[in-house]
């Protein structure tokens, strides 16, 4: 070492002297930013070295940490994986909560707009059968749910309550083959019966081939079934084929398009008019009760005895014959073969203002005084005896 300095003594002294004077210069000089050059030089000289040292240190420590000290990596990996799984579940749960909140908000908006009195319910289960299109909701008779009530969403009808338990209810979906509901088309006011097929697509029956209905047309509940109030969206016609005697019409239901997790049970339905535009571009409208022409009592209900509901034509004919038999004192099913049948041409006493036919023996003709006064023509014929 000593010989080294002796050999390079001159150059060493030169460098030291030069370095000392450089330091001396830099101590006195400032750069444009009023920083002494000695500081600038020092930082400039030290920074790369520090960067290299830091890179070496970081690389070395990283190498040691990443490749040598791996004894806890597996356990940490398992722990992180478990935490990741938990966070994924949390994420799914929160997304579901968010979607639920959105659906709840949509239901609340719909509830505030619809004139019908509704009851919000949540689907808590599905039917056990493979082909069963039924769900269970968390509202039952305790909440006022009764069998036969309609179940809807803001997008359309969903089904109807087929069984009401104290704390839950079973809802038959519109896709079930046993489901049926009266529908009416938006444009042509064509009436039909919506039926489920066990598939996501429903069909509409009993639409005569001469009626005009086109794909893309919206269908609404007609209110004829006395379950769904008039004016609720049902779905869009996808296929409409002419056939004899009825058209083949397939409908894509709109009520379950976005799933059914929260529904509304129509505790007290109110009829609404059929909107002019599809429901997607029209807010829920609070309309007046359905027009009178949609609730037309049958003409022959005048002859229907109290408590007898108007049914098919056969039922009406049967009821009429029973009345004729009762008026003539005849009891069906008791006469012996060959006995005289009742006179089926017998004219039953008519409503107010209507002259009764000649009473038969044993018959009790109605007194004219019992007829409603002519000053009340608004009462439908036979209405007094019906109610």
């Amino acid at each position: 070492m000593e010989s080294f300095f002796n050999r390079y003594r001159s150059i060493t002294v030169l460098l030291l002297v030069i370095l000392a004077q450089l330091v001396l210069v830099e101590v006195q000089v400032k750069n444009d930013q009023d920083v002494r050059l000695i500081r600038v030089w020092t930082v400039t000289a030290v920074t790369p070295v520090a960067r290299i040292v830091e890179a070496l240190r970081g690389g070395g420590s990283g190498f040691i940490r990443n490749y040598i000290l791996l004894r806890d990596a597996h356990e940490e990996n398992r722990r992180l994986q478990a935490e990741l799984d938990r966070l994924k579940l949390d994420n799914i749960y929160l997304n579901n909560e968010l979607n639920m909140a959105d659906r709840a908000k949509a239901l609340a908006v719909f509830q505030s707009h619809t004139p019908s009195r509704t009851l919000a319910a949540t689907v808590i289960g599905t039917g056990a059968g493979t082909n069963s299109k039924m769900v269970l909701v968390d509202r039952g008779t305790v909440s006022g749910v009764e069998r036969g009530m309609a179940v809807v969403t803001p997008d359309g009808i969903v089904g109807k309550v087929i069984t009401a338990y104290p704390t839950a209810s079973a809802v038959l979906l519109i896709t079930d083959p046993d489901f049926a509901a009266g529908v009416i088309s938006q444009k042509g006011q064509v009436r039909g019966t919506l039926k489920g097929q066990g598939t996501p697509i429903c069909k509409v029956d009993y639409v005569p081939f001469e009626e005009k209905i086109e794909p893309g047309e919206w269908l609404y509940t007609s209110g004829d079934d006395r379950i769904f109030p008039r004016g609720f969206p049902v779905g869009v016609v996808k296929v409409a084929h002419n056939a004899q005697p009825f058209q083949e019409i397939l409908v894509e239901p709109s009520g379950m398009a976005r799933g059914i997790e929260d529904v509304l049970i129509l505790v007290e339905g109110v009829h609404q008019p059929i909107p002019d535009t599809p429901p997607a571009s029209q807010p829920v409208f609070i309309g007046s009760p359905p027009p009178a022409d949609t609730v037309q009592p049958p003409d022959n209900t005048a002859n229907t005895p109290p408590g007898t509901s108007a049914g098919t034509e056969a039922d009406k004919l049967r009821a009429q014959y029973k009345d004729i038999g009762a008026a003539q004192g005849h009891k069906f099913g008791e006469g012996t073969p060959g006995s005289k049948p009742p006179d089926f041409n017998f004219k039953l006493p008519g409503p107010a203002g209507t002259p009764a036919a000649a009473p038969a023996a044993g018959a009790t003709p109605q007194a004219p005084a019992a007829a409603p006064p002519a000053s009340k023509p608004a009462v439908p014929p036979g209405g007094a005896s019906q109610r």
């Binding site: 002294v13 030169l14 002297v17 210069v25």
Partner: protein
């Protein structure tokens, strides 16, 4: 000490004899050179081209043939010049240090008693001094100093000529070997 008129390179170690000066010479001559550069141009402006301190450094470095001695002389003279100038301390010190070191290094190889060698070396070290000073001013001080090549060459030649005379005068002050 003898002149080797036939060649300029030192043929043997014996020719490279170290010139010795009295102490007062080593002190007074550099001081006089600095004072000359400071005061003479006040009265004789045309003499401002003379770099007397540089010439003294070159002379002592060449004749003493000691690199350490040469650089120390250059350092002291340069720092003294800096002290009397507006330059930061060390600017001329560094330049003169390098001049002294390299001059001493050359003095170890060449017969620096040869007038032509002295002329050339003085000319060369003047250029080196001017160029390195210009370089340091730009590098360390960030000043845009202009390097006038032709003027520097002329001044270098004039200083070399003056240096020959000065060196001849200073040779009279050397101790007899």
């Amino acid at each position: 000490m003898s002149y080797s008129g036939g060649h300029i390179l030192l043929s043997s170690q014996r020719e490279s004899q170290v010139s010795r000066f009295p102490v007062w010479v080593m002190l007074v001559v550099p001081l006089a050179a600095i004072l000359f550069q400071v005061y003479v141009p006040l009265f004789f402006e045309f003499l401002s081209f003379l770099e007397m301190p540089l010439l003294v450094v070159v002379y002592f470095a060449l004749t003493r043939r000691s690199q350490v001695g040469g650089l120390l002389v250059g350092t002291l003279v340069g720092l003294a010049q800096d002290s009397l100038s507006k330059n930061p301390l060390g600017m001329l010190g560094i330049v003169n240090t390098l001049v002294g070191y390299f001059a001493a290094s050359v003095g170890l190889r060449l017969d620096v008693d040869h007038p032509m060698i002295r002329l050339l070396l003085t000319f060369f070290f003047f250029l080196f001094h001017q160029f390195f000073y210009w370089l340091m001013v730009r590098a360390l001080l960030g000043q845009q100093l202009v390097f006038e090549t032709q003027r520097t060459l002329v001044l270098g030649l004039l200083n070399a000529v003056v240096g020959i005379s000065l060196f001849h005068f200073l040779d009279k002050l050397r101790k007899a070997s």
